[in-house]
């Protein structure tokens, strides 16, 4: 392994590759920050640029763009509640309220530190555990995935705490309904497509996120145009506030980071689960770790609630490289694009990658450390400038958000239909927002719904229709027990009151 690290360092530390990491991080941050343009678009834009590069250099650039975009995505989540990246949706739950309280600088600093810590810790895990971790993720079977998704859904309780339980549950059902549109992934039957070919592949996740967050947020602002409280908020936001954290905030953050980085990394390793699920899961778990008093602050600007998903999504990005590099299985949509790029270089990622191309395997891991340092440097001093987005008057900002939403979705699919669908969903979401329906449960259910159904039905198929799979395997049973414990704890708490 030491030999591998040396090969990796040698490749990663060449001037050209360091330059690539810097470039990747910079562009990634910019692209990730713009609502509507996520890492997938960013990496897709890099594919023609890397054409003719050495594979290691190309991959290092794309990895830089990837975590740069996740870093940058948190900025727009915090400042304008418009997550540029699905993985940073959870960041907005507490980041945005913090920014509204005039603590935008602090929120951005917490996000930068947590991202750095999450990414770096996960890169260390990756280094030491990559070979054996592929075995761990392979041990997961469909029932375990199903149990994990159910565990993920318990995070909904985090949003229902404000006396909105019924509304949250209604949004969950709406999310599950949206997830069921399209061709059924098990039996080739089309559902709720109304004979429209554009709905055959289902509704794109990014589209739903853009519609329910960026776009409907912008529309809500327009509709509430003369709301004086909004106007004052906008003014207070233009004063960013200090980026220095006090001792209490630092301690809270340091408590959240270790557990969330482990969660994030492990979820990232699982094929199919990525930064998005990791951040939701970390947010939900974190809420169960903190004191009652702190729990009340969740959704209203909690340090824990911000640090946890930020740590987890970056940790998951590193984690997603484990199945990609060791198995050739993309752990997320973004790594799927990278897999395509790798194949374009003529490299088949798989169990033999680190024997046939050790320089690629190790240099990518090594470049992650360099990338994390660059991102921290890039983000902390640049925060005041980045925050200038907010100084832009609403008259400019809102059209900009709408513009990037529309172009972003079009750049993903080159399909006009998606634009109309997004506008339709955004209009509905705007009405729901006006009636104070929470959006996050919808997103969570939408992500988990399809996977949950797929894994449940596959489990049933394998166990010949019997539900024994729920307790047959220790791993499934453990995850489900954990889920039941969390739910009963919530119920017990609410009865105690």
């Amino acid at each position: 392994m030491i030999e591998g690290i040396l090969i990796g360092l040698e490749t990663a530390l060449s001037l050209k590759n360091i330059l690539m990491v810097m470039m990747g991080c910079f562009f990634g941050t910019i692209i990730g920050m713009l609502p509507g343009l996520g890492p997938m678009t960013a990496i897709a834009l890099m594919i023609p640029i890397t054409y003719g590069f050495e594979p290691a250099t190309g991959l290092i650039l794309m990895a830089g763009v990837y975590y740069g975009a996740v870093f940058g995505g948190s900025t727009s989540s915090i400042l304008i509640n418009a997550p540029g990246v699905p993985g940073t949706v959870a960041t907005s739950f507490d980041g945005y309220p913090m920014a509204q309280q005039g603590k935008a600088g602090k929120a951005l600093a917490i996000a930068a530190y947590s991202s750095f810590a999450g990414g770096t810790l996960a890169a260390i895990f990756l280094l030491f555990a990559a070979p054996s971790l592929s075995k761990v993720s392979l041990a997961f079977r469909s029932p375990d995935y199903f149990a994990l998704m159910v565990l993920g859904l318990t995070a909904v309780s985090a949003f229902s705490a404000k006396g909105q339980f019924l509304k949250a549950m209604m949004m969950v059902i709406l999310g599950l309904m949206l997830a069921s549109v399209g061709q059924d992934s098990l039996s080739d039957i089309t559902r709720f497509t109304f004979g429209n070919i554009n709905l055959l592949d289902g509704i794109s996740f990014v589209l739903v996120v853009m519609a329910t967050f960026a776009m409907s947020e912008a529309l809500t602002i327009i509709l509430k145009g003369k709301d004086p409280s909004r106007a004052t908020q906008q003014i207070s936001l233009s004063k960013l506030g200090s980026i220095r954290l006090d001792k209490e905030e630092r301690n809270k953050m340091l408590k959240s980071i270790p557990r969330s980085s482990v969660i994030g990394f492990l979820v990232g390793v699982l094929p199919g689960a990525g930064a998005t699920i990791a951040s939701f899961l970390a947010y939900g778990v974190e809420r169960n770790f903190v004191s009652d008093e702190e729990k009340q602050k969740f959704g209203k600007g909690s340090v824990h609630g911000l640090a946890a998903p930020e740590t987890a999504n970056n940790a998951a990005c590193s984690g997603a490289f484990v199945p990609l590099l060791t198995l050739g299985i993309p752990g997320s949509g973004t790594t799927a694009v990278m897999l395509g790029a790798l194949l374009g270089f003529g490299i088949q990622p798989g169990p033999r990658l680190y024997m046939t191309h050790p320089e690629i395997f190790w240099s990518v891991i090594m470049s992650m450390y360099i990338g994390m340092v660059i991102l921290l440097i890039l983000n902390l001093p640049l925060i005041p400038y980045i925050a200038r987005i907010l100084a832009v008057p609403k008259n400019f900002l809102i059209p900009l958000i709408l513009f990037f939403s529309v172009t972003g979705i079009y750049l993903m699919s080159f399909n006009n239909f998606d634009i109309f669908l997004m506008i339709g969903i955004a209009v509905v979401a705007t009405f729901l927002r006006l009636y104070k329906f929470p959006m996050p449960p919808l997103i969570l259910a939408f992500v988990l719904g399809g996977l949950m159904e797929e894994n449940l039905r596959r489990s049933l198929l394998i166990s010949d229709g019997s539900f024994e799979f729920l307790w047959d395997r220790p791993l499934t049973a453990i995850i489900l027990t954990l889920t039941i414990t969390i739910i009963s704890w919530q119920v017990y708490k609410s009865f105690k009151k």
Binding site: S187, G328, P330, R352
Partner: protein, 326 residues
């Protein structure tokens, strides 16, 4: 006066002759490839690889590519049929035949079932054989052992594949079981939504065998044993992998990938492109691309291609009826 008439008629016929010769050798210098799936997929690789070889070998001045995802390729197909673009070809593969068989209606308004007959088949270019694989530590070493275990206890064998019921992955395994005298409809098929996930399912132990394309499992040969492929004889890239045929199960199946023109494409244009696709396979530039992707050359142009598609349609229809997917 007569002379002038003569000169005019000579000139006129010369012009006619000239224009006739230019049309008969339509020099195609640019081609637009329409890809019915996203970047990085099998169709994408085939189109871009072919385009790369054609331009690098100097047979084509420029090749452009357009990804048009949606409806499992249906959107790109509808685009070809509705807009009839010039200098444009569509990459497709076996699923086109399966799509024609199953009841995918409504891709083109009022046009009922869409099939390969709605576009112009130009040529099949490469193929991928089907493969049955087991985990390295599996007790089964041959397909015969799998069948024996299945006949003893049908529930002991679960077959994984990277796509839905009735898809190619499912049909490959079903064909093999059918040939072994088992009821293919009784074999439990466990669908995953990607080949990689199906492989992970096999390695996790929740399924016993994996039925998919050979290309899909070639990269994972450290962790799986390929116990049979649907090729007529062993393939050069994996000489140690046995065919199902040599084990006594005469199963032959090839997932072809090929190109189609818009409906009503002129036959001279069609033949020109078909010839180009065949000639390029003899160039070293193609060999580079082929080797990189571990493709098998199965050049199959024009009418031969159409009769192959017809034969595959008949075979697959029979099997899919048996499986109850249509």
């Amino acid at each position: 006066m007569r002379n002038i008439k003569k000169i005019v008629s000579v000139l006129f016929s010369a012009i006619l002759l000239f224009s006739a010769t230019t049309t008969s050798s339509i020099a195609i210098d640019k081609l637009h490839f329409v890809i019915g799936g996203g970047a990085g997929g099998g169709w994408d690789g085939t189109a871009r690889g072919t385009g790369e070889a054609l331009t690098k070998a100097g047979m084509l001045k420029s090749a452009s590519f357009e990804n048009m995802s949606g409806g499992g390729g249906g959107k790109a197909l509808a685009f070809m049929i509705n807009t009839k673009p010039s200098d444009t070809i569509l990459v497709q593969s076996t699923p086109l035949v399966l799509r024609s068989i199953t009841r995918h209606k409504g891709y083109v308004a009022g046009d009922g079932v869409l099939s390969y007959n709605d576009v112009t088949p130009i040529a099949g270019v490469i193929g991928d054989y089907g493969a049955i694989a087991v985990a390295k530590d599996s007790p089964y070493k041959t397909f015969g052992e799998v069948v024996a275990a299945y006949k003893k206890d049908p529930k002991s064998i679960k077959m994984a594949g990277g796509s839905v019921r009735g898809s190619m992955d499912h049909l490959i395994g079903a064909l093999a079981f059918q040939e072994a005298g088992a009821d293919p409809n009784k074999v439990v098929y466990v669908p995953y939504d990607a080949g990689g996930k199906a492989l992970a399912g096999l390695l996790s132990g929740e399924t016993q065998i994996l039925s998919t394309g050979l290309g899909e499992v070639m990269g994972a040969r450290d962790q799986v044993n390929i116990i049979g492929i649907t090729a007529p004889s062993r393939v050069g890239d994996a000489p140690d992998v046995p065919t199902l045929k040599e084990q006594g199960f005469d199963v032959q199946f090839v997932n072809w990938r090929g190109f189609f023109g818009p409906p009503g494409m002129s036959s001279s244009m069609k033949n020109e492109i078909a010839k180009m696709l065949g000639d390029v396979q003899k160039t070293p530039e193609w060999e580079v691309v082929r080797k990189r992707n571990a493709w098998v050359n199965i050049y199959n142009p024009g009418d031969k291609f159409v009769s192959f598609l017809e034969k595959q349609t008949v075979e697959m229809t029979a099997l899919m009826k048996k499986l109850g997917v249509i």
